[in-house]
């Protein structure tokens, strides 16, 4: 039996989720502050990579049963379709819109169509990073 690095596990459990939450903050902050889909995606990916590193592949695969190829596909589809939405109202492809709304709890909030587009990019970046790293990791030939 090999040693289980308990300290690493304990720290990872806490740190990974702090990174995850921060990455989501970064993703939403993107429109007005440093951040955005690309950076948020990279940070989410690094949090997940940390999980994979400290635990083993099998455990995390059970917890997060994603096929990252589909994550990439979903992201591409989302980003592409956001652009199409505007076309139904006679605007050119990929025209983005924004408006300020009064929402409960959040107060005045700016909602933009750039957000789902950015979410698409976020998903592609997460999917890409993990797909590549996991593919290399699983290759034991």
């Amino acid at each position: 039996m090999k040693n289980t690095p308990i300290q690493l596990h304990v720290v990872t459990r806490i740190v990974a989720f702090i990174i995850l939450i921060f990455s989501i903050f970064l993703f939403f902050a993107g429109h007005n502050n440093p951040g955005g889909g690309f950076i948020g995606g990279l940070m989410t990916a690094s949090a997940l990579v940390l999980l994979y590193l400290s635990f083993d592949l099998k455990t995390i695969k059970r917890v997060l049963p994603f096929d990252y190829a589909y994550v990439i596909g979903a992201g591409l589809l989302l980003a592409t379709l956001t652009g199409v939405a505007g076309m139904f109202f006679g605007f050119p492809y990929l025209t983005q819109f924004f408006e300020y709304f009064q929402l409960p709890i959040l107060g005045e909030t700016e909602l933009t169509t750039a957000l789902p587009f950015d979410l698409g990019i976020y998903l592609v970046v997460v999917g890409f990073t993990l797909l590549v790293i996991l593919t290399v990791a699983e290759d034991d030939s």
Binding site: H31, I39, A45, M87, P92, Q96, G120, F128, L131, I133
Partner: protein, 807 residues
Amino acid sequence: MSTLHIIPLAPFLFAFLIPLFYKKFRHIHTGWFVLPLPLIIFIYLLQFLPLGGTAFQPVEVTVAWVASLGVDFTVYLDGLSLLFALLISGIGTLVVLYSIYYIANKRDEPLNNFYVYLLMFMGAMLGVVLSDNLIVLYVFWELTSLSSALLIGYWYHKERSRYGAQKSMLITVTGGFAMLAGFTLLYLMTGTFSVQEIIAMSDQIAASPYFVPAMILVLAGAFTKSAQFPFHIWLPDAMEAPTPVSAYLHSATMVKAGIYLVARLTPLFGGQAEWFWIVTGFGLLTLLWGSVSAVRQKDLKGILAFSTVSQLGLIMSLLGMGSAAFHYDVIDGESLYTVAILAAVFHLFNHATFKGSLFMVVGIIDHETGTRDIRKLGGLMAIMPVTFTISLIGVASMAGLPPFNGFLSKEIFFEGALNITTLDMFNVETLGFLIPVVAWIASVFTFVYSMMMFFQTFTGKHKPEELPKHAHEAPVGMLISPAVLGLMVIVFGLFPNMLAYTVIEPAMQSILPGLLGEGEQFYVNIYHWHGLNTELLMTMGVVLIGTALFLNFDKLQQTAFYLGERDPLNGAYDNGLTGLISGAQYVDGVQMTGKLRHYFTYMFVFLVAVLSYALIRTNAFAIDLANTAQISPYMFFIILALSLSTIAVPFMTKRVPAIILVGIIGFLVALIFVVIRAPDLALTQLLVETVMVVLFLLVFYHLPELRKESFKPVFKWSNLLISLSVGAVVTITGLSAHAFSHGHDISPISDYFVENAYALAGGENIVNVILVDFRGLDTLLEVFVLGIVALGVVVLIKYKASGREEV
């Protein structure tokens, strides 16, 4: 978005439902679900026909697509596009109905594939004829090539199918690519992609040096698509497709896309001697070549394929002759030259009817007897009476016999060809006399192969022992479509003027716009008896000589001419393809050594060459250190550390220190971003470095021990030279750019974003606003690249060759 926009898109959207129908209702033939769509489109389009004798008003509706690049999805419906759209949807309906009986709903028959491809083709074809924007047209154009190749290769287990699909794809896509270059030249001259706007500017651009190259490139696209000599060789091989596909794509619609393009652009290029001679010349050559080659065929579909080639050449040459009308600014409605255009439009329609029905009939014969070889067939008249009757009508029309519509258009074709010889321009007096001569000879051969096809199949002795199946009449459902087309051949043969002002005249208006005064119309009156004139004598000559030749068919069969069947031009294609592949393999072998250091050498040498060429060419060397930003003291330390660690990397003898050094370089770069206050960049760089460490760790496991390699001094010194020159060129470029921007009155591109980011996109983070909004399309394409790279990595690693496979 209007209903007209939905027409070309509907088949694509509908195609998504086909697999569902196929899965859910397996026992019902999928074709029944497809059938209503073309029918609805056809009926919807019928309402645009000008029935009251009034002039046709073109309809134009625009939806912005990529407006900043001048690419809008503009639908332009005029007489010409309406004629094509009606043909596509109308014949599409008949073909779908026919296919339901032709392709049986067997257990392993991939009907879903068939109908998805067919719908894809239908939508693309409607898109080609309805778009006014050249780029949109190009996209749809290539989609027709793609769907055509997929349909030819539908029975992909057959080697001939795959060969035919590849051939058609290679030839039409190459032509399409040339056409795109032609469109780009047109854009350079006019600044617009809209066909109608370009046509309006035709006078101004005629003198441009790009005008003739643009013409030739566009014609390359049209000629490959419409199977003009010498590009026609793909069409006979495309006959490997299921017969409904041949009837639809390779006779009635897709191969006419080139005709459509030539007709559409006639107002732009017409009136030029080059256009007149190229289009007429290639058309006539194709007409002759096709009709002579058709006589050599033994396969019924082969005869029809070459016949289609020759008929396309006929229509093409008519368009060429008719373009002469633009040489004169004003003509009257009954001019000599418009006759050729009238014949082109009329024959286009007639050809779709009789050739469509003939293809379906041949399909029936193939389906019920199991062969299409005319040497085995014979005596089917009594066994398949209905098929026989429809064939009789189609063949007589194809041969140009009265009272069918093919006779009428052939008469007008002769008239147009004779008229042209009286022209006194474009040097017609030198070679012009050849035009009616070639037309006449080709018609004789057309008559011969029509007779051959008909009599070999239906008369003579029935040879049941040579037929794979027991011959009998086809089911009623299969006969409906050819019968409808055959009926049209008779009806429009007897009453051609039903089409005169509903279909033909509006189409002529679109091919020859601006020649008539406001409210005037072309004079269209088609009738059988013109008196005993030259045209009628020519037709009688065709019948006499043709019959004489056919009666001596036995002797013809002995000649070497008849025994060969393959087009001699195929050799050129096959050799060209083999040469291309072996050439590519040779270049690949030289260039792709599998060593990263060689690839870097190529890239860096190229970079240095291009940058220094651009610098020398524009004479942009300048160093001006005024107005540079203040350099903070930290920066010197960072740069020093950065340089030292970079220089140290090549001297590392172990992998781990090298990797750590590279990591240090990355983090130092992030530090530079912090100092120059670029938080987004710094953050990204830090994250990328972090992820890279993990990747390095993983890859590290697979890497062999770093060996001390001994290199020749030449190799070392040349590497040093390359790296130094990269550094020097990049530095000089940066310095020159700085000096240049301060010497001139150039405002940086970033000003626009700084001013408009909040106002136009509601975001304060300019970097992000640029990424998701101003340059959203770039970002979208970049993430697509990411996706492709991820797939590449997965494929390379998971499915890598073990080294023993044949690659």
